[in-house]
């Protein structure tokens, strides 16, 4: 695609929430006044030093930031190429990067006087983070989760319930993340007066893709400073998995204007790109869903197709609009990893580094296994280890036992 290269990749979106043709505000009229209020509240909060100071306090003492940038020595030796660093987002309180964004949104909700929080979740990591911060701040919490995901992510369902959240299994459609998002939007339309919708990824109507990105950019900002401190220079490449793409956007965004840094996003290729998968960029095209224009999996009539991934957190037929734009302008390379490749990476990282990753970042590790051996030994590669694998242990255990039988 022939698109003029911008002077900066970091200035988006425009005032109407567009990244190129992507993004926007495609929602029912009922929600528009609230979305405009949210934009105002966020603009005011960004300009308020007290908001940032309060957030920094919680990030440090409640979330446990900064997360380490860890040199994965044995993985590096095994692959025999680039020097691999893991950004340890799985060490955050609640076990993933999701808490960075939820903290920001819950603090915004409090500023706006909202007492009831709703969220949608796939793997349950966003749901757990939301339930956690609602418990911390005494807010009512309702989490929508596809009935299929409720089954395959039981440990997280139990955690959310222990934290006082109400988990609503969604029976409509494919009973996964996309349907949970539809159901959360329906709840929001119904309860718009007292309810704040805490979106879990860099998607949805403007300003969500922007504010989620901003809250997650702490990942990339820390990585920059840490790499400077450890190696005295910027990394040469970044790798992160993508469902909606919030962990990836958080890592990538602070580096977008550094041309020396190669950036790779890894989508879930499921059973393979010619079969059932969740790779919206590799296998989709631009369309409009859930409040934004972005790459979507759909049929010739514009009907949304079912996504599939072994990882409930990547099982979504769309991707954040800023990623769609970064793909079209060619700044980020979007690759994909299959279920089997992710499983192999899951086992490799567990055995070599003593770190059990979530199935989501296992997709990123899978591509590191391909990319790193082709890079020289002085190449610095950072992988975002966006979540830990506790929630996936029962599911992966079943699969591996099934295979060994």
């Amino acid at each position: 695609m022939n698109i003029a290269k911008p002077n900066s990749y970091r200035s988006g979106p425009d005032e109407r929430g567009h990244f190129g043709i992507f993004g926007g505000r495609f929602v029912a009229e009922t929600l528009m006044p609230l979305i405009l209020d949210l934009e105002k509240a966020y603009t005011a909060a960004k300009a308020d030093p007290a908001f940032q100071a309060e957030m920094n306090g919680y990030l440090k003492n409640y979330v446990g930031r900064p997360s380490p940038l860890y040199y994965a020595e044995r993985l590096t030796e095994h692959l025999g190429g680039a020097k691999i660093y893991l950004k340890r987002e799985e060490l955050n309180h609640t076990g993933s990067h999701k808490v960075n964004n939820v903290l920001g949104q819950i603090m915004l909700a409090r500023r706006m006087g909202k007492k009831r929080i709703i969220a949608e979740t796939g793997a349950g990591q966003h749901g757990v983070a939301t339930a956690t911060l609602c418990a911390r701040f005494g807010l009512e919490c309702v989490v929508y989760m596809g009935a299929v995901d409720v089954e395959r992510q039981q440990p997280n369902v139990i955690r959310m319930e222990m934290l006082g959240a109400k988990v609503m299994p969604v029976q409509s459609g494919t009973r996964t993340l996309k349907d949970a998002m539809n159901e959360a939007l329906r709840d929001w339309v119904t309860n718009v007066h007292n309810t704040f919708y805490c979106i879990g990824t860099v998607a949805g109507p403007h300003p969500y893709p922007t504010l989620v990105r901003d809250f997650q950019s702490i990942i990339g900002n820390e990585t920059r400073a840490q790499m400077q401190e450890i190696e005295g220079r910027l990394p040469d490449s970044l790798v992160a998995c993508i469902g909606g793409g919030s962990n990836a956007m958080g890592l990538f965004h602070p580096f977008l204007d550094d041309p020396s840094v190669e950036i790779f996003g890894v989508e879930a290729a499921g059973h393979g790109l010619t079969q059932l998968h969740a790779a919206s960029i590799a296998g989709g095209r631009p369309g409009v869903l859930h409040g934004n224009r972005t790459y979507l999996l759909m049929d010739a009539d514009g009907q949304i197709q079912d996504a599939h991934s072994i990882s409930a957190g990547l099982d979504y037929p769309g991707i954040g609009p800023e990623h769609s734009w970064l793909h079209e302008v060619g700044r980020v390379n979007y690759l994909s990893a299959t279920d089997d490749e992710a499983l192999a990476a899951f086992q490799l990282l567990s055995k070599l580094e003593g770190i059990i990753p979530a199935l989501e970042p296992a997709h990123a590790i899978a591509k590191v296994m391909e990319l790193a051996p082709k890079r020289p030994r002085d190449h610095l590669m950072v992988v975002n280890l966006s979540g830990r694998g506790d929630k996936d242990v029962p599911q992966v255990g079943d699969i591996l036992r099934g295979k060994s039988k």
Partner: protein, 278 residues
């Protein structure tokens, strides 16, 4: 430019009564039965017909209408066939206004210009696209106006006086007031609150105001029609259709009548109401 919608509301105003607006999903439960049902509506008393364009992810619709869309898609319905359905209806009826209602993505994928040309030539008069607020008017609303189709906007209880002018700016045909914050088929509309809201909207526009969401019975339809220029019923008709299907979700001998009978009953309710004072 006068559309069938303008003509119809002008006629009704002369008769001093409000419009009965029906909603059904295109292709539910199958394309052939759907055409028969749509054809039966004007005879049963429908003044304006809204036809849903099926979509997999209708985020502002309740379970009944979502299920209707999925039944239609399963029966092979597409946007192209929805336009053909209107063309089929127009063979016998050149007066009843037809409004297509749905979500933007299928139109975006069909191609906006091609869609507008095809819809207009098939006899479509207006569009209601749930996920296109005034902030996205460039996408479809402005091209639709240029193509001679009415773009009918939803106003809701959250649309305050400050926002109303923006919502009404490019609206034509009529204004669709959503009487509740919620999904289709949810709660019943509260008649005094609706009356107040309609009066508020009428302070900003000369367009007819129709009220929908939460109207299920001839009594409610009558109450709403006495406050507004039209009452819209969707979920109750879709439910009547569904009840007539066999265990596999296929049409039976009762299907067309089930919808026609409820339409007639609701139309009686609306026609019993005096039109809201201008």
């Amino acid at each position: 430019m006068t559309t069938r919608i303008d003509t119809r509301f002008a006629e009704l105003a002369k008769q001093g009564r409000s419009a009965f607006v029906t909603f059904l999903m295109a292709g539910d439960p199958d394309p052939a039965t759907s055409l028969e049902i749509i054809k039966a509506l004007p005879k049963s008393g429908a003044d304006v017909i809204e036809i849903g364009m099926p979509f997999t992810d209708p985020m502002a619709d309740g379970p009944s209408i979502q299920a209707a869309g999925l039944r239609a898609l399963k029966a092979g319905m597409t946007l192209k066939k929805t336009i053909e359905l209107v063309r089929g209806f127009r063979k016998d009826d050149n007066a009843t206004p037809i409004v297509l209602m749905g979500y933007y993505n299928p139109i975006y994928i069909y191609g906006v210009d091609k869609f507008l040309t095809d819809a207009k030539s098939a006899g479509v008069d207006g569009l209601i696209i749930v996920d296109l607020p005034p902030e996205e008017d460039d996408e479809l609303c402005l091209p639709a106006m240029k193509a001679g189709l009415n773009f009918i906007r939803l106003a809701t209880p959250t649309t305050d006086d400050k926002r109303l002018p923006a919502v009404l700016a490019n609206t034509s045909g009529f204004v669709y007031y959503v009487s509740i914050t919620g999904i289709t088929g949810a709660a019943a509309a509260d008649s005094p609150a609706v009356s107040e809201a309609v009066a508020r909207i009428k302070r900003h526009t000369k367009l007819p105001v129709c009220v929908g969401f939460g109207i299920r019975t001839p009594e409610t339809a009558r109450a709403i029609a006495s406050h507004a220029n039209g009452a819209v019923v969707g979920t109750a008709l879709v439910d009547a259709l569904k009840t007539s299907l066999d265990a596999e979700g296929r049409a039976t001998g009762k299907t067309v009548n089930a919808v026609a009978e409820l339409t007639a009953a609701l139309a009686q309710g609306v026609k019993g109401a005096q039109q809201a004072a201008e």
